[in-house]
Amino acid sequence: MSGAGQVVGTLATETVRVTVPYACAALAGVWSEKSGVVNIALEGMLLASALAAVVAEVATGSAVVGVMAAIAVGGGIGAAHAWLVRREVDAIVSGIALNLVAMGGTRFILRALYGSSSNSPAVPGFQGIFAGSSSLLALVVDTLTNPLTLLAVALLFVTRFALTETRLGIRVRAAGEDGAAAASLGLDVPRLRLAAVSLGGCIAGVGGAALAYDQHQFQSGMSGGRGFIALAAVIVSGWRPGRAVLACAAFALLDASQIVFQGQSRVSRDLVTALPYLATLASLAVIGSRSARRTS
């Protein structure tokens, strides 16, 4: 294969690989925002579920059990967030506190279980069919057939379908558009929000598992702001699942290009990492008041 084709192929594959955690967290954000709950706990969801995946895989030796544990922890944080908001705790306050607990708690558990403050033991995660091979084709096939990549793609379509075509999705959106009006029609708004935010948390959990399995271990603070990138994608896309994932892919392309074109100066690397956030600030000026919608 030609040099240019090699580069483009690697770049595209890397982009897909990097997109998965972003996209899952963004879908979580979409579910949450659509139901009317601001969710800045995406970061903590990714972090805590990444640890859960590794702990469960270390304990059972099964990567699938690891994913299930990650989904459970992500969903649990979502449920906690929804419950706190139902108890009239400000959604921002709740999100900040949950992020703090996830940040401190994962370090605490890391040290308690593995005696290390930086990383867990290595886990295999999902090995591709061509694991170990260095050819581009093997990389492409392994990335595209990774169960978590496929699951993320499926979740995107499920989210789109559910929010537009199913009774639950439409009710969730009604709760988000105007909680009081939805309640007056007899909808149980708090319960709908609980369902939506927990469901979102489960999806974010898949992203956390993907993050951990990608590195084959848990590293302290490994979410590294990905939850906030996902939040940025949610806002830039105007809470539309397809566009949010596209925005994630665009942000991931920036990341991937840094992995592929190495040897850039530190400065340009740092400035590129700021682009998603700058894009969000710019879009705030456009969508402005819509972003000011608070939970009611």
Partner: protein
């Protein structure tokens, strides 16, 4: 009004402290240590010695500034969670300005206030973007400040990497000796070795001035009213947007002043990550400290104790326990606030 309010605050604070203690005990016990023994270590390492107390004051100094920052925002009905970024930018600005040639030529009583002013301006400037987005376009300040935090991270990295750092490091050059704020142990010998500095007075003055400003100045009182009901304020021709922007910028300035404790009073230079966490810690301080200067000061001391105590117990229990406690306190205060609010306003339409 006053009686239930005082009662409400007491309930919220007591609940939070109780929740923090329970969370601490459970985590320490899960880790296989005795909560009482570790609590004893925590106390000995903080208030048990004069040095420990000095370290608590040192840790509490930036927290009080960022706590005031969040408090100022909350009064205006704004949530400034951009303290992290505002502090990072202010610290970098102070580190660079302190190294400028002419600062070294200034006497200390000019150089120190000058750099404190630089910190306030830089922190305020970083808050200006979300303030304008909020005032002009109605964009949620939480999203704006989160994004500015991340941009600050990148910008600080790029600037330090791009030549502002001492070659081969991630720190700025030393600030001029005349720009250092004196350590408290120069006056109180018992505090010897602790990093508490006169920056604590900056933080104390800031807390008192903020509480006073909301009670006694026209702008301050207008801001409080806007925080309660912006629509009504609009109707009586208070310049709501301008006041909101002002409040957010002042909040950023307060966060920037935390660099007095870290750069001017402690390190004497700025390095990557210096003061990180103080921005979020300020949220906990503001929520626990309620809305009085004394409350904020006590809350800053409480979290300063936890931070210093975390270092004291780190050999037995990971100090990250303290981050978890910060989160627990925030949640407990907010939950009990909401409960009390419900009890006192039951039946009131629209409450």
């Amino acid at each position: 009004m006053t009686a239930p309010r005082v009662g409400q605050e007491a309930i919220a604070v007591t609940t939070a402290l109780a929740a923090a203690w329970v969370a601490f005990a459970v985590l320490v016990w899960l880790y296989g240590e005795s909560p009482l023994v570790v609590a004893r270590l925590l106390f000995d390492g903080t208030w048990g010695t004069a040095y420990g107390a000095g370290q608590v004051i040192f840790k509490a100094t930036p927290l009080l500034c960022t706590g005031v920052a969040v408090f100022v925002g909350l009064r205006a009905g704004l949530f400034n969670i951009g303290g992290e970024g505002q502090l990072a930018i202010a610290s970098l600005a102070v580190g660079i300005a302190g190294h400028l040639g002419f600062v070294g030529a200034l006497p200390s009583f000019v150089a120190v206030p000058l750099l404190i002013a630089v910190a306030a301006v830089a922190g305020g400037a970083w808050a200006l973007v979300p303030a304008m987005l909020r005032a002009r376009f109605g964009a949620h300040e939480v999203i704006g400040t989160i994004m500015m935090n991340r941009v600050a991270d990148s910008l600080v990295g790029a600037l330090l990497g791009g030549g502002l750092a001492v070659a081969g490091s991630v720190r700025t050059a030393d600030i001029a000796p005349s720009a250092h704020m004196a350590r408290l142990d120069a006056v109180v010998p018992a505090l010897r070795g602790s990093a508490a500095s006169t920056a604590v007075f900056v933080a104390l003055v800031l807390a008192v001035a903020a509480a006073w400003g909301f009670r006694r100045t026209r702008v301050g009182r207008e801001v409080v009213l806007i925080g309660k009901n912006p629509v009504a304020c609009e109707a009586v021709h208070i310049p709501v947007r301008r006041r909101i922007a002002t409040a957010l910028v002042l909040s950023g300035s307060a966060a920037g002043l935390a660099s007095a404790g870290t750069v001017l009073g402690y390190k004497g230079y700025f390095e990557m990550g210096l003061g990180a966490g103080a921005g979020f810690g300020g949220i906990a301080v503001a929520l626990l400290g309620r809305s009085s200067a004394v409350g904020l000061i006590l809350a800053a001391l409480f979290f300063g104790t936890l931070q210093q105590g975390g270092l004291a117990i780190n050999g037995h229990v990971p100090r990250e326990v303290m981050n978890v406690l910060e989160g627990v306190v925030i949640l407990a205060v907010s939950l009990s606030d909401a409960d009390v609010r419900r009890t006192f306003t039951r039946g009131v339409v629209g409450a």
